[in-house]
């Protein structure tokens, strides 16, 4: 595995950075928040991203995708992370889309994936429940056979972009008890199906998440009954690595803005960046961000190559990025001083997103524990 961007990836990074700067200033995120926008992102911009080929990156060409990997997706997400763009990559392209790609029948894939890659349909993954925290197998939503299909009953929380999805990939129990590894199956449930209700949640980063309840809702089985957990683990690992790439972009930008402030804010007649008490902290932040960059590159390449080490590297990346994102966001506020506490200034948006990202798919301590488990201790 080579930890260096290929020429094509460099080009993609440049295109994405230019697009982010031109089309997605942070003012856009603020406007979506202030308007209490019901979906929290822009459908027209999502369509543009699809036309650039980004939405289809990790799908085979046969289903309208680009046939590339999470390494390429990471390059785009890092650029979008710099401007905190809220478009539904994690939910639709990775969680929902990759679950369907891995578990779905050819007919199901043909029905959904080309429209998804074109930016015309949105899928979300409904797996988390109250009290399940980051444990993927703690699932109490039940599915029982009913005619040709299944009827699902239960409540899912924190369904990313659940208030905009056209259909849900739902993890539900076809047998066993709430914490069992066996007995978990995946289902495809249209958002408009009777018995499905999605209610927008409002979180500190203003992005789209929803509580989705299923009351005897009709679902079609994805893959084989009882074999859902493996797919769930795989797609959440992919999404975790993709989120780390986004976090890398956000922390790099928060750091760049802070560095700019250190060089320009005058106190005691000098730039505050001349004070050693701030310089050393800035140098430590830089060091930690460099390690995050290596960790993200390592994780996405290992996933694309199918390395035996990939799961460990995902936990490594999430542990590093979670801590560094919070470190950088906290320091960014502190070094901006009073102005950093105001809503008028943009730096606070980075803190809010950093906290949500930290607590999505497992925080640093949770991933260190997973690392230890995967290493056999």
């Amino acid at each position: 595995m080579q930890l260096v961007l290929s020429e094509d990836q460099e080009l993609l990074a440049k295109t994405a950075a230019d697009f982010a700067a031109e089309r997605s200033p942070l003012a856009r995120v603020r406007a979506l928040r202030d308007a209490s926008d019901p979906i929290g992102f822009s459908r027209p911009l999502w369509k543009e991203m699809a036309e650039l080929g980004w939405v289809g990156i990790p799908f085979p060409e046969a289903y309208g995708g680009a046939g590339m990997g999470v390494s390429e997706l990471a390059v785009v997400l890092e650029a979008l992370g710099r401007v905190l763009a809220p478009e539904p990559f994690l939910s639709c392209v990775v969680l929902g889309g990759q679950a369907l790609l891995r578990a779905g029948s050819d007919a199901q894939k043909k029905e959904w994936l080309p429209r998804l890659a074109a930016g015309d349909a949105l899928l979300a993954l409904a797996h988390q429940e109250k009290g399940s925290r980051y444990d993927l197998q703690r699932i109490d939503t039940r599915a029982r056979r009913q005619g040709d299909g299944y009827a699902l009953t239960g409540e899912k929380i924190a369904v990313l972009d659940g208030a905009a999805a056209d259909a849900f990939v739902v993890a539900a129990r076809t047998s066993g008890n709430a914490a069992d590894a066996a007995g978990i199956s995946l289902f495809l449930v249209p958002a408009k199906a009777p018995g499905v209700r999605a209610v927008r949640q409002w979180r500190v980063d203003s992005r789209n998440a929803a509580v989705v309840t299923f009351a005897n809702a009709q679902g079609a089985l994805l893959g084989r009954e009882g074999e859902g957990l493996g797919v769930l683990e795989e797609v959440v690992d992919l999404a975790t690595a993709a989120l780390c790439a986004e976090m890398l972009g956000s922390m790099s930008e928060a750091f760049a803005r802070t560095l700019h402030y250190l060089k320009n804010r005058m106190q005691f007649g000098v730039p505050i960046g001349s004070f050693q008490g701030l310089k050393h902290r800035a140098a430590w932040m830089f060091t930690e961000i460099e390690l995050c960059r290596s960790a993200v590159m390592g994780a996405v390449r290992a996933l694309d190559a199918g390395d035996a080490d990939a799961r460990k590297l995902v936990s490594l990346a999430k542990a590093k990025c979670s801590e560094t994102a919070i470190l950088v966001a906290n320091e960014a506020i502190q070094m901006h001083g009073g102005i950093g506490m105001t809503d008028e200034h943009e730096i606070g948006f980075f803190l809010k997103r950093a906290r949500v990202a930290e607590l999505t798919f497992g925080d640093a301590a949770w991933h260190r524990a997973r690392w230890a488990r995967l290493c056999g201790y």
Partner: protein
């Protein structure tokens, strides 16, 4: 690629014929016992000397150095193959030292042809051991303020002053030293890089006992020591840029020591830290460790080591792809040493009551070594430029923060 595989075959055949079989799996007690070479060298077993000599005969102790000066003349890819094959045979390094890592590369870049002919072959063969004369009692982090004087008298300099923290000065044959040749110039501009034979009259060395109880560092005094002017590397009063280049080689060496060797594939053979814990009552032969806090700290340490290893790899891959060295390389000395300090302190805490021993009875060699390594490591963030100096360098050179 085919050439490289042919070379690998050649290395394998050569090692099978020439490497002493008894050295397979041989490990040195600590750094100080390794093959450093030099006139005062001692060898725990005679095969170590034999191993040095056969490797030196092919120039493979310095595989990438030019053949005309006794080096191996290998490409960096071939040198990597050689390292891999030596590692695969579990053979110890044939030769290490500041000649190979610091003064050799410096002379190859800045030395005259005569200097290269005089010094490079003897470094390759491990005949001369070098030490570093940089710091002084009053010049630590502020290295450029150094006061050791070198006054010109015809075709010689007369050197007077004191150097401190000269690693293994008592075991070395030559010293590369920074001396002041123009006391009136701006401090960086009056410094000369000088090679000094330590057997010259007026050189004296006193080992310094450290908190670990060992004495790897010395104080080196110069009293009217006469050094030929031909021993100047680069120009008179131009020593500061040579010194900085050498510090770059030194920081690479430190990064190699603390980064490249760890965090790579080591955990695939099981976590060494977790296994240490199991031997000290932190759990059964398998399953989770019983102390969740130490378990978390072990994971944190391993994760940071692996992330650091990936950063070194990223830097090398970028260099191979033809990119200029990126800003990531500036963190190697800082982060590598801080990591080693954390690891050695963590080991002592994992060993618990067995991690406190100074000497027997009641402690085995491994446990006593943990204590020594922890104490020795406290110096990692001081030697070769303190962590604070590294942070200053990153803030200024990489981040562009104002003075």
């Amino acid at each position: 690629m085919a050439d490289l595989e042919a070379f690998r075959g050649e290395v394998q055949r050569w090692l099978a014929a020439n490497a002493p079989a008894s050295l397979k799996g041989y490990t040195f007690g600590d750094d100080g016992d390794a093959n450093w070479g030099g006139k005062k060298a001692t060898y725990a077993v005679p095969e170590l000397k034999q191993w040095l000599d056969v490797m030196a005969s092919r120039g493979w102790t310095a595989p990438t150095w030019p053949k005309e000066y006794g080096g191996g003349g290998l490409s960096s890819e071939e040198a990597k193959v050689l390292r891999q094959e030596i590692a695969a045979q579990k053979l110890p390094p044939a030769l290490i030292g500041f000649g190979l890592e610091m003064i050799g590369p410096t002379l190859l870049r800045y030395g005259t042809d005569a200097q290269k002919r005089q010094h490079i072959p003897s470094i390759v063969r491990g005949e001369i051991r070098w030490c570093q004369g940089y710091s002084e009692p009053d010049s630590g982090s502020d290295l450029a303020s150094l006061k050791t004087r070198a006054e010109r008298q015809g075709d010689h300099f007369v050197v007077n002053g004191t150097k401190v923290w000269t690693s293994y000065g008592d075991k070395s044959d030559w010293i590369f030293a920074l001396v002041r040749t123009d006391p009136t110039a701006k401090k960086q501009d009056g410094i000369t890089f000088l090679l000094i034979d330590m057997s010259t009259q007026g050189v004296s060395v006193r080992p310094i006992k450290l908190i670990s109880g060992k004495s790897p560092f010395c104080e080196t005094r110069f009293d009217d020591v006469r050094v030929p002017v031909t021993n100047v590397v680069s120009e008179i009063n131009a020593g500061w840029s040579v010194a900085k280049a050498l510090l770059g080689f030194e920081r690479n060496m430190i990064a190699d020591t603390f980064g490249a060797s760890r965090g790579g594939s080591s955990e695939r053979r099981g976590s060494r830290l977790a296994n240490l814990g199991r031997r000290h009552g932190l759990g059964e032969e398998s399953g989770p460790l019983t102390d969740p806090v130490l378990r978390d700290e072990i994971a944190r340490c391993e994760i940071d080591e692996r992330a650091f290893g990936l950063t070194i790899q990223r830097s090398r891959d970028a260099a191979k792809a033809g990119h200029q060295p990126g800003p990531e390389s500036s963190i190697f000395k800082l982060y590598g040493t801080e990591l080693n300090m954390r690891r050695t302190a963590l080991c002592v805490r994992i060993a618990g009551p067995q991690g406190l021993g100074w000497e027997g009875p009641g402690y085995d060699d491994e446990e006593l070594d943990l204590t020594r390594q922890w104490l020795r490591a406290r110096g990692n963030s001081i030697e070769g430029g303190t962590s604070e100096v590294q942070l200053n360098i990153i803030a200024k050179r990489v981040l562009g923060l104002p003075d």
